[in-house]
Point group: C2
Chain length 479, copies 2
């Protein structure tokens, strides 16, 4: 018996580093591998900090239990939110008279020199559209000179897809959370092809922006104003989950539901007949039209969950094309940033990963709410666009339950037997598990002026979450 | 060794009757059960007949090989079909001047005395709607007297959901298969609630029929006529499969796609503004509006596959509320009938299976084409209406591959990794495997005048297929 370890076949449970496993199996031993890693990915200070605020059911006064209680309130705010499209502002400057020559952009604040190509391209386009510059060269010089102010959309209660540029003349959707009264804004979809949000700025792009300002926004405003109370956005998102959308990178059903909601009020209005036709043709042929509304719906939802003292729930994930940044409910307006990854996905013919910009846009507000990558199980058809298999799509959603606080009963995922979508990213769980939030996304060319070159999937970088977890632990005095 | 069978534990493969299995396992034996049954369910003549026309790749002149070749042609006809909504006939009598006082109905021909309650109720309603009778009692007496002619919709190139009543004043959708030029007809959806097709015949029901004739049909006719070539129906059905519909019992996405297709032509027309609003409100709020169009699309598809000599492909499955009847491509206009089962499903509050009529309606033409129960894997959300789990929904589709000739590349099922839907029911395989086609369906109350009481799933009875298989074998001289 004393020699059995040496003489018998050994059976081993290997915890953590997988390399040790092979030294057992290579010599004929039986081994079960447990895929474990220390919280904080080996950083002792971070591990200690996360342990200090870990869930704690035994002691209601312990920091972890207080985080849990705050998170329950934040999640409840998300579940109770009722985002309504209540109006269209014909120009952003009407909403923000102080706007002056400010351009809003996606993600956390970023200086001109550090901006990615597509964001610079979109800003150049915005100056041409506003008439502040007559040529791209002049626009570039003005942008570099400091005479144009930049601000993060999120800091103005707004969100914008991809580069997310909002300039003073652009119309805005106005979305109000009927439960709490908070308001969120977003710009309007430009459709597909060469578009400002992906960094294109040709005359065709500017013409479409002018059409949005001149026709689309006034027409939709008349229609929305005719609907008593506005248009409820959450029921559209919920129905769309049953119809193959995850309402981030696929909005085919949601757009049709929105189309059906506005068609009758629009045709009953006294709005110009040719304009009505143009609007319905545009919305009906832009399968991603609803994305901006989905984002504003999510922004109105997440702002209602923000500012709850001690909560570790993420209330914004936003990418400026250089960094991914998150905000946390209990940590105020501070952004926690880390360099963005490049999406993995499918490219349009002639393009490859070498051409891709890093992950870009405010649209990850949908994942923050539990849509997008978190609801990928709802959208098997999306794998045709972003790559992968249906099984993988389902497993992404399943994985996200490990890092979220709850299941949203209003967001039912048929392929998970109608389980509510994973909702409320908990920074503690992200750090503890090493599982990073999954995001579905369009892919922009890294150079200004080119546009979209594909679509895919990306993970938010761990650095945002570890920095935020450290800050939260410090706020509890345990780091 | 000689005694090993008695002394050792025995291992058995049990084929067929499951009862024998237990005599082994009850005494500690290991047994693998093979779920096999003889083709024809134990009827030697039928087994012999089916064996005579079984698939035969070795001998191209053998009956089975000739059936295979004919089936390949039939399936090709189905795959190549391009059903288009090309027009609306304002009255059925315009299409069929010979109609006189004929009422078309779902399923195979059936005499008044044998008709089920909901079909009788709908016929009474049709007489009131046509003004042929002033009261339900008079109508009933007229219907029993023989002065009203009855005919099967299918015999008039038409299909109708549930009782499927088409009377001379009703408008019809006109669907043309652009590939072969054949035409199919169907009536228009009455929406939900109390409706003629489920056997209701109150004044509210008749008022809606009059509105369809006066407003809906003329308006849609103007819109459809304005679209060059009409509206392609198969792409709508295909897209809907990616959006949670199986385009039989769920048409939410297909209806929205149709709505988007007609909205602009309708508002651009000079049709009365109030009528346009009523039409868009009605279509937009009737999630099953597209069902009738889905059926006519499938009828136009299946008629193109009918009449191919020697083919064993089913070209129609239709239920008159008493029997389920099938037609087979190589067996002419003959119906092969057997008593219908009752659907199993979910009932509206206050109703149960005791109240249910047997399976009813021409809508199983969608299953005949590969939609409906055959594409249930596309519609996880439907299990909320008809019962069961998503896993079961997927397994129904998987099972149907065992009884169909091919996979339709235009009908992609995301949950089966975008495999084409099972297409072309082969009567030989149904008899050989004992697997009966699965159909999703609404459930009507068995009495006249009540209406829909639930929705569920049903299987077509084996008797249709065994009778047809025997007839096909006889046509080949092998039975």
């Amino acid at each position: 018996m004393a020699n059995s370890l040496l003489n018998d076949k050994i059976s081993v449970v290997n915890v953590g580093v997988e390399g040790f496993l092979h030294s057992v199996t290579d010599h004929g031993g039986a081994a079960l591998h447990l895929d474990w890693r220390p919280a904080g990915d080996g950083d002792p200070a971070l591990s200690w900090a996360v342990a200090g605020i870990a869930a704690d059911a035994d002691d209601a006064d312990a920091p972890g239990a207080r985080v849990d209680a705050a998170n329950a309130r934040a999640a409840q705010q998300m579940i109770l939110a009722q985002p309504m499209l209540v109006d269209i502002a014909l120009h952003a400057r009407d909403v923000w008279p102080e706007m002056g020559r400010t351009l809003l952009h996606a993600g956390a604040p970023v200086a001109w020199e550090r901006m990615c190509g597509p964001m610079q391209g979109a800003m150049i386009g915005a100056l041409l559209y506003e008439g502040w510059a007559k040529s791209a060269d002049t626009a570039r010089a003005m942008l570099a000179s400091g005479e144009i102010a930049f601000a993060s959309c999120h800091d103005w209660q707004a969100v914008g897809p991809m580069s997310g540029i909002i300039s003073p003349s652009m119309p805005l959707f106005v979305v109000r959370n009927a439960t709490d009264g908070n308001v969120a804004y977003t710009n309007m979809s430009e459709g597909i092809g060469r578009v400002l949000r992906f960094g294109a700025n040709s005359e065709e792009v500017l013409d479409r922006l002018r059409w949005i300002e001149r026709v689309l926004a006034p027409g939709l405003k008349v229609a929305v104003n005719a609907i008593d109370g506005g248009i409820e956005l959450k029921p559209i998102q919920s129905q769309a989950l049953l119809m193959g959308d995850e309402v981030h990178s696929r909005n085919s059903a949601a757009t049709l539901l929105f189309f059906a909601a506005i068609a009758v009020p629009l045709i009953e209005s006294d709005f110009d007949r040719a304009g009505v036709r143009e609007i319905l043709n545009f919305v009906g042929n832009t399968s991603q039209f609803f994305l901006n509304l989905s984002m504003a719906s999510c922004k109105a939802t997440m702002d209602a969950a923000h500012g709850i003292e001690g909560s570790s729930i993420v209330t914004a994930m936003a990418r400026n094309g250089v960094t991914t940044a998150i905000r946390v409910s209990g940590l105020g307006a501070r952004w926690f940033e880390a360099p963005s990854d490049k999406p993995v996905g499918l490219y349009f013919p002639g393009f490859s990963g070498d051409d891709a910009n890093s992950d870009l846009g405010d649209s990850a507000i949908t994942e923050t709410t539990g849509f997008g990558g978190f609801s990928l199980a709802a959208s098997p058809a999306l794998v045709q666009l972003v790559g992968g298999t249906v099984t993988e799509a389902v497993s992404y959603s399943q994985e996200m339950y490990d890092i979220t606080h709850t299941r949203n009963p209003a967001m039912s995922l048929p392929l998970l037997d109608f389980l509510g979508a994973p909702t409320g990213i908990d920074i503690r769980r992200v750090v503890e598990t090493g599982i990073r939030p999954v995001i579905t996304t369009g892919i922009a060319h890294r150079e200004a002026g080119v546009g979209q070159i594909g679509a895919g999937i990306v993970r938010a970088p761990m650095g945002c979450f570890s920095a935020a977890a450290m800050a939260l632990a410090q706020s509890y005095g345990v780091a």
